[in-house]
């Protein structure tokens, strides 16, 4: 039997025998099950994954009828990042009319709510003008990015400097103050963009600064839903695991530190999130099949309890997509098909 072409998590090509491929799938699902305290994939699901990975086709796709919606984070930022010199509204038109996107997102290169608060009146007219000429749903997105609230970038003492000095309580108090400030900024910016007509708000890369970051996003969502009951909020996570930088923060009585996607989803639903985007990180030293089985195990556990649409992140470095600026279509398409068809997803 010929070897099966696949890759490592950094995108490096490799080949596996059938036995090696199945071993990696089994090891990947066991790793996720152990970390998340969730069931591993069944033998049938592993066989389904095996067939997807072992397909001789360079590019694979979902079966007819299994098509899902794609949402995008930081869309207008990414067009500029690759050096295409177009205005943001033109970038949106590229997504809409050239790429055939289902939804799109307007954003600023300084992709955090804190800096956006002071220029939101310059962002609103761009959104309002974009909405006049485009057809498909348009999000406005940014990150909570609580790292910007501590000194020297922000007003509060830096927990990373306090903790090495043993000032644990002081560090925790600083995190608690940043949460309140971040909630005010998220609500101010998201509220302004909603009132300018945005179809949705994407609170993106949530949890990048740990449990305080996640709490700020949950509380901001709760407040926005209270002020604007019809607002659509998509919450995209930064990583698979909420890091306990504070350690004691809770939402609705649940400690945030240490939550994996299926538990993050429960809190997002309680806060009023409309669409949830969980993340599973890619391990660069393991194979793509290992990463895929691991990601599918985490996301399947979330998919089974989701009452809101679930759009897992499937970009570079997450969702078994290799950590590379040019993710290869062979793995991206296999990962997308596998995630959609095994995990009961509504989008990516």
């Amino acid at each position: 039997m010929a070897k099966i072409f696949t890759r490592f998590g950094d995108g490096t090509p490799t080949e596996l025998s059938e036995a090696e491929l199945m071993q990696d799938l089994e090891a990947g699902t066991e790793d996720a099950a152990d970390r998340g305290k969730i069931p591993p994939l069944s033998k049938e699901e592993l066989k389904q994954l095996f067939d997807i990975v072992a397909s001789p086709c360079k590019f694979v796709s979902v079966d007819r009828g299994n098509e899902v919606i794609l949402t995008y984070d930081a869309a207008t930022l990414k067009i500029r990042r690759v050096g295409v010199a177009v205005d943001r509204i033109q970038a949106l038109q590229i997504y809409e009319k050239i790429l055939g996107a289902d939804t799109m997102e307007l954003c600023h290169v300084d992709y955090s709510f804190k800096p956006l608060k002071s220029i939101v009146t310059m962002e609103q007219p761009v959104l309002e003008q974009a909405l006049l000429g485009t057809y498909i749903p348009l999000f406005y997105g940014a990150m909570p990015n609580l790292g910007l609230y501590s000194q020297p970038d922000g007003p509060f003492p830096n927990p990373a400097e306090l903790m090495p000095d043993g000032k644990i309580r002081e560090a925790q108090e600083s995190y608690e103050q940043t949460v309140a400030a971040a909630v005010r900024d998220i609500v101010a910016v998201a509220g302004a963009m909603h009132e300018s007509g945005a179809d949705g708000i994407n609170i993106d890369t949530v949890g990048a600064a740990g449990d305080a970051d996640f709490l700020a996003a949950l509380l901001a969502t709760q407040e926005l839903k209270k002020r604007y009951p019809d607002i659509c909020i998509e919450m995209g996570m930064a990583g698979e695991f909420v890091i306990g930088m504070h350690g004691g923060l809770t939402y609705d009585g649940v400690r945030l530190a240490g939550l994996y996607p299926h538990d993050q989803l429960k809190l997002a639903q309680k806060a009023g999130v409309t669409i949830f985007g969980p993340v599973v990180n890619t391990n660069t030293t393991e194979s793509s099949p290992w990463n895929l089985a691991r990601a599918a195990t985490f996301i399947k556990a979330a998919g089974e309890i989701a009452v809101i649409p679930l759009h897992p992140n499937m970009g570079m470095g997450v969702g078994a997509v290799p950590v590379n600026d040019h993710p290869p279509a062979d793995i991206v398409s296999r990962a997308s098909k596998a995630m959609v068809e095994i995990c009961r997803l509504d989008g990516l």
Binding site: I69, T103, T134, P137, A198, P309
Partner: protein, 104 residues
Amino acid sequence: MGGMRAAGDLVARLQMTRGMKIAEAKKYVADRLKISVADLCDPVIMTEVRQDLQLGTMSPQPGDARGIEAKFRIAEALGIDINCVQRFRAKAGLLIPDSPPRTR
């Protein structure tokens, strides 16, 4: 789902405005447009449907509804409120005073 090439934007609007899961959202849009769920992902069929209902197409013809004009049609066809359409109505003085809120 192919965005405006098919019905991806329309199905997305049901996830965003009503929180529908994918199967429910597809069925809702198909029923409203009086087509099959399979048709939603077919760019040939959907171009005709979108042209007939003026929901916006990838290659609009002269005189077709464009941008916000098409979104007025989409809101009506799907029976949903679209935020920027509501804002346009308010800014253009098109809201009927004391009109009851749209049934959702």
